[in-house]
C-alpha cells in the first residue's frame, strides 16, 4: 500500500494533520483554559496567570494555522465541505480568537482604567473560542448535520471542551505558579476533571450510536481486544490525575507536573480513539481521505519541506519552553 504515493500520501498527511490538531488542543488548550479561569482569580493573580502563558500562546496558536493549512492543502474538497457546514461556529471562533489575541497586548498597554475591559475581552474571547471548537467537534461527530438533536449534542460537547480546556489550563498553572494561586489552581483542576469525564462519556456513548460503522469497529472481535487498552488507559489516567490532585500542592513542590503530563496523555488517548473511529473518513461518512486528497505531486513537495522543517520547529519550540521554564514571574520587556 505504501509503494503507491496516491495511497500513502493521504495517510501521511492525515497523520500530520492529526498531530497538529492534537498539539493545538493540548497547547492552545492550556492557554485558552487560563483565559476561561480568569473570572475565578483575583485581580493581582491575573497578571501572573498571563505571565504563565505569555511567551507561548502565539506559537501555540500557530498549530491551529498548521492544522487548518494541512486540511486546506492536502484535502481541499473536505476543507470546503467542513468549513461551509460550520460557517457560523467558525465565525464565532474567529471573533473569539481575535478578542483574546489582541487582549493579551491591550490589557498590558492601555491606561489602567481600561484594563478591566480588556480582561473581560480576554475571558470572553477564550470562552467563545473553546465553546465554538467544542461545538464543531460535536457537530463533526454527528456527521455535520444540523438537527435539534445534533445541535443539542454539540452544545453539550461545547461545554465539556471548555471545561476540558479550563482543566488543562489549571494543571498548567499548578506547574507555573506557587502559593495561594497554586492552591486555587489545584481546586480548579479538580472541578474541571468532572467536565472532562462528562465529555468523555458523552462522546464515547454517542459516536458508536450515531454511526453503525463506528459501532462495528469498536465492538467486533478481534478488533475489540486490540482497542481495549485505549479506554483502560483513559480510566487509569483519570484515576492518576484524581489521586495526584488530592495530594497537591506538595509542601516541597514535588509532582506539580504530574496532572499536566497525565492530562496531555489523556487528551492524546482520547484523540487517538476518535481518529480511529473516523478513519478513513475526513468528512464523516461522506468523503474519505483518499477521495479528498490533492494531487500527489503537490503533496510530495509539501512533504519534503515538512520533513526538514518540522523537527526544527519542534526544536526551537522546546528551546522556548526551556528558556521560560520555572515559576512564572512578572512579564517584563527588560
Amino acid at each position: 500500500m505504501f509503494a503507491d504515493p496516491a495511497l500513502s500520501l493521504p495517510v501521511i498527511f492525515a497523520g500530520l494533520m492529526g498531530l497538529s490538531i492534537l498539539a493545538y488542543v493540548v497547547l492552545d488548550g492550556f492557554d485558552l483554559g487560563v483565559g476561561i479561569l480568569f473570572p475565578f482569580a483575583g485581580n493581582d493573580e491575573r497578571d501572573r496567570m498571563v505571565a504563565a502563558i505569555g511567551p507561548f500562546w502565539d506559537a501555540n496558536e500557530t498549530w491551529l494555522v498548521l492544522a487548518i493549512g494541512l486540511l486546506l492543502v492536502a484535502f481541499p474538497a473536505a476543507h470546503g465541505m467542513i468549513l461551509t457546514a460550520l460557517y457560523l461556529p467558525v465565525a464565532v471562533m474567529l471573533v473569539g480568537l481575535i478578542l483574546r489575541g489582541v487582549a493579551f497586548e491591550f490589557r498590558a498597554k492601555v491606561a489602567p482604567p481600561h484594563k478591566a475591559m480588556w480582561n473581560a475581552a480576554f475571558f470572553a474571547g477564550s470562552l467563545m473560542t473553546a465553546l465554538s471548537q467544542g461545538f464543531m467537534l460535536g457537530l463533526y461527530i454527528m456527521g455535520l448535520v444540523w438537527t435539534p438533536f445534533t445541535v443539542g449534542f454539540a452544545l453539550l460537547t461545547a461545554v465539556c471542551l471548555a471545561a476540558g480546556y479550563a482543566f488543562i489550563g489549571a494543571t498548567w498553572l499548578i506547574i507555573k505558579t506557587e502559593g495561594a494561586l497554586q492552591k486555587k489552581a489545584v481546586r480548579w483542576a479538580r472541578s474541571g476533571l468532572y467536565g472532562v469525564l462528562a465529555g468523555l462519556g458523552a462522546v464515547s456513548v454517542a459516536s458508536p450510536l450515531v454511526s453503525p460503522r463506528i459501532f462495528d469497529k469498536w465492538f467486533t472481535l478481534p478488533d475489540m481486544l486490540f482497542l481495549a487498552p485505549l479506554p483502560l488507559l483513559a480510566v487509569a489516567l483519570v484515576a492518576m490525575i484524581h489521586i495526584s490532585l488530592r495530594h497537591l500542592p506538595d509542601s516541597r513542590d514535588r509532582f506539580a507536573y504530574v496532572p499536566f503530563v497525565a492530562a496531555t496523555v489523556l487528551f492524546a488517548v482520547c484523540f487517538a480513539g476518535l481518529a480511529f473511529s473516523f478513519y478513513p473518513y475526513v468528512v464523516p461518512e461522506k468523503l474519505t481521505i483518499y477521495a479528498a486528497a490533492s494531487a500527489p505531486e503537490s503533496l510530495a513537495i509539501i512533504l519534503v519541506g515538512t520533513v526538514f522543517v518540522l523537527p526544527v520547529i519542534i526544536g526551537y519550540t522546546v528551546l522556548s519552553y526551556f528558556i521560560f521554564r520555572g515559576k512564572a514571574g512578572e512579564l517584563r520587556y527588560d
Binding site: 486546506l72 476543507h79 465565525a91 481575535i98 498597554k109 503537490s298
Partner: protein, 463 residues
C-alpha cells in the same frame, strides 16, 4: 438586496484590508528593531535600547493584530471561497504551507524570546531572536506575495478538467509579476514604518520630550522615509509597466482610457462613467499617459473597449474605484516625497527642529503618521479590484469560486467583523498615542507622581 458574491467579496476585502495594516508595520519594523539592537550592542548607549523598548511594544501589538486577522483569513478561504482551493489548491496549497512552516512558527516562537527574554538569555541570543522574527515576517511576505502574484500572472501549470496542476515550481514562484510586486510591497512596508516612527516621534517632540532615544527614532524614521520614497516611485513605475504587459485592462482602468489609441492623455481628474463608457469632467495632460507608459507621445496604449464580450458584457474591472485608488496612492506618494525631504533637512541640520519651520515640519510629520496605511490600501485596491472579474487572471473567475452560503448569513458575519475591526483600529491608534504620551511623561518628570495625586508635569505644554 446584495448577493452572496458581493457580500463575500466585501467581507474578504474588509478582512484583508484590516489584516494588511499590521504586517505592513511588522515586516519593516522588525528590521528597524534589529538595527536598534545592533547599535546598542555596538555602542552600549542606552538611547538605542530605549528606542528598542518603545518600538518593540508597538511591534508586539501590531503582531498580535496581524496574527488574529491572518487566522481569520485562512478560515475564510474555506468558509467563503471553497472554489479557490478546489480549482487552484494544487498551486496555492504548497505556497501557503511553506508560509506556515518557514515563517509563522519562526516568528511566533522567537517573538516570545524577543519580547520577554532580554534579561533571561545572552545578548547574542536576544539579537538572534530579533533577527529571526524580522526574517520570519519577511519570509511570510515573500510566500504570500508569490501566491498573490501568481493569481495576477499565473505561470508554470496546466489545466486538467478545470483544475490547475503544477508543472514547474520555479516558474510558479518566480512568475512574471512577483519580483516587482514583492519589491513594491516591501518598500511600502518600509515607508509605512518610516512615517509611523517619524510621526509618533514628532508628536512626542512637540509634547516636549527631548531624549536621546527620541532623537534616534525621529532621525531613523525621517531618514528611512527620505531614502525609500524615491526608490518606491521608481519601483512603482516598473511595476506599472509590468502590469501593462500582463494585465492591460487593469492599466486602462487606472488611466480611465476607454479607446486604444496613440497620444493618450494623462487624466488628472475625471468621473469615469460606465454607462456612456467615457469620462465626465475630464482634466488631462495631452499625451501624458503615452509618455509614461510607452516613453513616446505617439505611443499606442490599450483601452477598456478592447475588453468587452460580443454581447456587451465588460471583461475589464470597474473603472472608477481602480482609477481613484490609483490616484490616492500616487498623491500620497508625492506628499511623502515632499514631507520626507523637507523633514530630512530639519533633522540633520543642528538646531533646525527648534525653529518655527521645524515646528511646521514636525506637524506635517504628525499628519503623515498613517500615510503609509493610506498608500498601501489604495495600492492594494488598485491592483486587486483591477484584477476583476478574475480571481486568478484568465483561469478562475471570482463568481466561480464563491461559496453558496445564504446572503443573510454572510451579511451578519460581515457586520460583526466590521464592528470589531473599526473598534480595534480605534483602540490600536489610541494605544499608540497613549504609549507615546507615557514616554513623554516619563521623560519630562522622571519621578512618577504619587497615585491619587495627579500632577501636571511642569515642563509639559498645555494640551
Amino acid at each position: 438586496m446584495m448577493d452572496t458574491l458581493l457580500l463575500s467579496r466585501i467581507q474578504f476585502g474588509a478582512n484583508i484590508s484590516f489584516h494588511i495594516l499590521f504586517p505592513t508595520i511588522t515586516i519593516a519594523l522588525g528590521w528597524v528593531l534589529l538595527f536598534f539592537r545592533l547599535r546598542y550592542s555596538a555602542t552600549g548607549d542606552a538611547k538605542w535600547i530605549g528606542a528598542y523598548r518603545f518600538w518593540v511594544k508597538v511591534f508586539a501589538l501590531s503582531f498580535a493584530l496581524g496574527v488574529v486577522s491572518g487566522i481569520t483569513m485562512s478560515f475564510q478561504f474555506g468558509t467563503n471561497w471553497p472554489g479557490f482551493m478546489e480549482r487552484v489548491g494544487n498551486i496555492a496549497g504548497p505556497l501557503l504551507a511553506y508560509e506556515v512552516l518557514t515563517a509563522f512558527f519562526l516568528e511566533a516562537v522567537f517573538l516570545g524570546i524577543m519580547l520577554f527574554g532580554f534579561s533571561k538569555v545572552p545578548a547574542w541570543l536576544h539579537t538572534l531572536a530579533t533577527f529571526l522574527v524580522a526574517f520570519g515576517t519577511t519570509m511570510s511576505a515573500f510566500w504570500i506575495l508569490v501566491l498573490n502574484s501568481w493569481m495576477h500572472t499565473p505561470a508554470g501549470f496546466e489545466l486538467r478538467d478545470g483544475v490547475a496542476f503544477a508543472t514547474d515550481w520555479w516558474a510558479i514562484i518566480f512568475n512574471p509579476s512577483m519580483p516587482y510586486r514583492l519589491v513594491h510591497m516591501l518598500l511600502a512596508s518600509g515607508l509605512t514604518v518610516a512615517f509611523l516612527m517619524a510621526g509618533l516621534s514628532a508628536w512626542r517632540w512637540l509634547k516636549g520630550e527631548r531624549t536621546g532615544e527620541l532623537r534616534m527614532a525621529l532621525r531613523t524614521g525621517v531618514t528611512l522615509a527620505a531614502v525609500l520614497i524615491p526608490l518606491q516611485i521608481l519601483a512603482g513605475d516598473m511595476h506599472g509597466l509590468n502590469t501593462l504587459q500582463h494585465q492591460p485592462a487593469k492599466v486602462a482602468a487606472m488611466e480611465a482610457n476607454w479607446d486604444t489609441r496613440p497620444n493618450v492623455p494623462l487624466v488628472l481628474f475625471a468621473l469615469p462613467n460606465s454607462e456612456t463608457r467615457s469620462n465626465d469632467y475630464e482634466i488631462s495632460i495631452p499625451s501624458g499617459a503615452s509618455i509614461i507608459l510607452k516613453h513616446d507621445p505617439a505611443g499606442v496604449v490599450p483601452g477598456l473597449n478592447d475588453f468587452v464580450a460580443e454581447d456587451g458584457t465588460p471583461l475589464h474591472p470597474p473603472v472608477a474605484p481602480v482609477f481613484w485608488s490609483f490616484r490616492i496612492m500616487v498623491g500620497t506618494g508625492m506628499a511623502m516625497l515632499a514631507v520626507s525631504f523637507a523633514a530630512a533637512v530639519l533633522v540633520w541640520r543642528r538646531g533646525q527642529l527648534e525653529t518655527a519651520a521645524g515646528t511646521w515640519g514636525l506637524r506635517a510629520l504628525v499628519l503623515m503618521t498613517f500615510s503609509g496605511w493610506v498608500a498601501t490600501l489604495a495600492g492594494w485596491y488598485t491592483t486587486e479590484i483591477g484584477r476583476q472579474p478574475w480571481l486568478v487572471q484568465g483561469v478562475l473567475s471570482t463568481a466561480e469560486a464563491v461559496a453558496a452560503v445564504p446572503a443573510p448569513m454572510v451579511l451578519s458575519t460581515l457586520v460583526v467583523y466590521l464592528a470589531i475591526y473599526v473598534a480595534l483600529i480605534a483602540a490600536y491608534v489610541s494605544v499608540l498615542f497613549y504609549l507615546a504620551g507615557k514616554a513623554v511623561k516619563g521623560a519630562v518628570s522622571p519621578v512618577a507622581p504619587a497615585p491619587l495625586m495627579p500632577v501636571r508635569p511642569v515642563l509639559q505644554p498645555a494640551e
